[in-house]
């Protein structure tokens, strides 16, 4: 479990009162095995929160506690937290360091000082998980953006984290590739109990997650199941977020008289089922 207790964070230091903090009194809890979509406009504090969870930034007020360890305790516990929480950046080029795909995956485990056979076992495992086996011996620089993004996830998974944080992994890659990546990540959560926090500003991506957290100006605006969150149309619009098109379509049809349609439709399958019942 990760606990975020009343955390405030400013980039500018403490004195400049006129600049709003990046995070202002955020409190939330992330349980094991949960899949969460974290959504918000640019500057809402999403990436700052991700960095605080991974102990890359430390809270100036409040605390972040990962499996009982405070991120600001320093020393050994920081080492432990960094292995527990894996962070994938928006641009894979920011975190890929090795020349070939298998070297890249092995980089983390090697630095943990694991024995040779264990490193190989982990490399083999994630090659399959992320469908990278055909590329195992290719140069990282030859990969497409989508392949690089999968490699970045593979490198983090080879560290066997319990929490996987993805900071807008889908902005740099085309639609279908992005969907496949998210599907893989959710499967990992189901099969291995890894918690996933996916940061995005695409509303249509949040529908397949257990829970949605909406951030606005450094605060948690909404927190709940996708269907519950999408009921708050006005708050979302004020935070610069429109409803997913499928949800909007459902609401337009309701307004035209098909009031038996559910208030919040999430997926294409929901929409089809609902329209079928009208036929």
């Amino acid at each position: 479990m990760i606990e975020v207790n009343n955390v405030t964070f400013r980039y500018s230091g403490e004195a400049e009162e006129d600049i709003a903090p990046a995070l202002a009194g955020v409190t939330l809890r992330i349980d094991e095995g949960e899949t969460i979509a974290l959504i918000g406009h640019n500057g809402s504090g999403k990436s700052t929160l991700a960095r605080l969870l991974a102990a890359i930034l430390l809270p100036q007020q409040g605390s972040v506690i990962v499996d009982g360890l405070r991120t600001d305790a320093g020393g050994e516990s920081l080492w432990q937290i960094r292995q527990t929480v894996g962070l994938v950046f928006q641009n894979p080029d920011d975190q890929l360091v090795a020349n070939t795909v298998i070297d890249e995956i092995a980089f983390g485990p090697e630095n943990l000082g694991l024995p040779r056979f264990e490193i190989e076992e982990r490399v083999e495992e994630v090659l399959d998980l992320l469908d990278l086996r055909p590329h195992a011996h290719r140069a990282v620089s030859d990969l497409s953006q989508g392949q690089k993004q999968r490699l970045a996830v593979a490198g983090v998974l080879a560290m066997r984290p319990r929490y996987l944080i993805l900071d807008e992994p889908t902005t740099m890659i085309p639609g279908r590739t992005a969907e496949q990546l998210l599907e893989t990540v959710r499967r990992l959560a189901r099969e291995r109990g890894i918690s996933v926090l996916h940061i995005t500003h695409h509303m249509h991506e949040l529908v397949d997650f257990d829970r949605v957290i909406v951030m606005d100006r450094g605060r948690v605006l909404l927190d709940g199941t996708p269907a519950n969150v999408l009921r708050h149309r006005e708050e979302l619009e004020r935070a610069g977020l429109g409803l997913p098109l499928i949800t909007q379509l459902g609401q337009r049809l309701r307004a035209r008289g098909w009031s038996q349609l559910p208030e919040v439709l999430l997926t294409l399958d929901d929409l089809k089922a609902a329209l079928c019942s009208l036929k």
Binding site: L245, W258, L268
Partner: protein, 294 residues
């Protein structure tokens, strides 16, 4: 027509074992004052086609005409073409080389040996046109700019040459949704306010469907579809097979075809999709609650 491309072939690394035929008999026309979007998956030949338009690559076969003149035949001077048609490459960093924004944007006017006052005016107008206030950005270091800002500076540098047309290679690649919208709006403004002809490439119809006057779909070096965005979207199923990202509206419409196989899929807006659905849905059963007379 600004450009006509007639049966153009281009072989990359020709005469080596790595030779690849990037364009295989491409024919198309680019009308003046419109936005033409060249859409296709990676490796379809989109960038090669842009470079061929500008005369930066010479076709192995076929010809490229600019205002009806073959760009590789005398008396046409291909260098002239580059003063009249600008290009914004995929990564803006690749074409910025000066220290400051002002110097970079003024490079073109200076090379044209324009008087300083005119050069200054062009730089100012070009920066303002891309939404970067002149006084604020003139002395800024290129290295201190964000990716989106660099992209704008690159566009301003091209505008300062006062071109008739600008070619954009994947202008929205790597931008977040907001940056994407802003850049597409900027391109639309360049067309409306400056009457520029625009050619852009993209692997996503989602980005360009609402913007383009003409869409040309390229696949493996050939034009497989072309026409208005609507007429191209009508072939959504084939586009999906080519790995082209479709607008969300089109994806929903395609998905609903399992219920109504004759549902159209060339709608551009949610309102149009709603109207189309109304053709199929039975009349609404529930009426507005009636006031019962007491």
């Amino acid at each position: 027509m600004l450009f006509e491309v007639k049966d153009v072939y281009y072989t990359r690394m020709r005469g080596t074992p790595f030779a690849v035929e990037a364009l295989k008999g491409c024919s198309l026309a680019i009308p003046e004052g419109e936005i033409t979007a060249i859409v296709g998956p990676t490796q379809a030949g989109k960038s090669t086609l842009l470079l061929t338009l500008l005369g930066l690559l010479r076709p192995t076969r076929g010809s490229v005409l600019f205002h009806g003149q073959d760009i590789h035949q005398a008396p046409f001077n291909v260098e002239d073409l580059r003063l009249r048609v600008g290009i914004v490459f995929q990564s803006p960093e690749a074409q910025l080389f000066e220290e400051t924004v002002g110097k970079d944007v003024s490079f073109g006017p200076r090379r044209k040996r324009l008087p300083p006052a005119q050069s200054r005016r062009l730089v100012q107008e070009s920066l303002e046109a891309v939404g970067l206030p002149y006084e604020e950005f003139r002395t800024r270091y290129i290295s201190s700019l964000s990716g989106g800002q660099k992209r704008r500076v690159a566009i301003a540098g091209v505008l300062a040459l006062e071109p008739e047309a600008i070619l954009f290679d994947e202008p929205t690649a790597g931008l977040d949704p907001q940056g994407r919208q802003e850049l597409l709006a900027l391109i639309q403004r360049l067309k409306m306010e400056r009457r520029l002809t625009i050619v852009l490439t993209s692997s996503s119809l989602a980005d360009v469907a609402a913007l383009a006057d003409q869409v040309i779909v390229l696949h493996e070096g050939r034009v497989v579809l072309s026409g208005s965005p609507r007429s191209v979207l009508a072939h959504a199923k084939e586009l999906l097979a080519l790995d082209i990202t479709l607008p969300e509206i089109t994806q929903i419409a395609l998905g609903l075809r399992s219920l109504w196989p004759s549902l159209r899929c060339d709608m551009l807006t949610l309102a149009e999709l709603e109207e189309e659905l109304l053709r199929f849905l039975p009349h609404a059963t529930s009426q507005e609650p009636q006031l019962s007379s007491s």
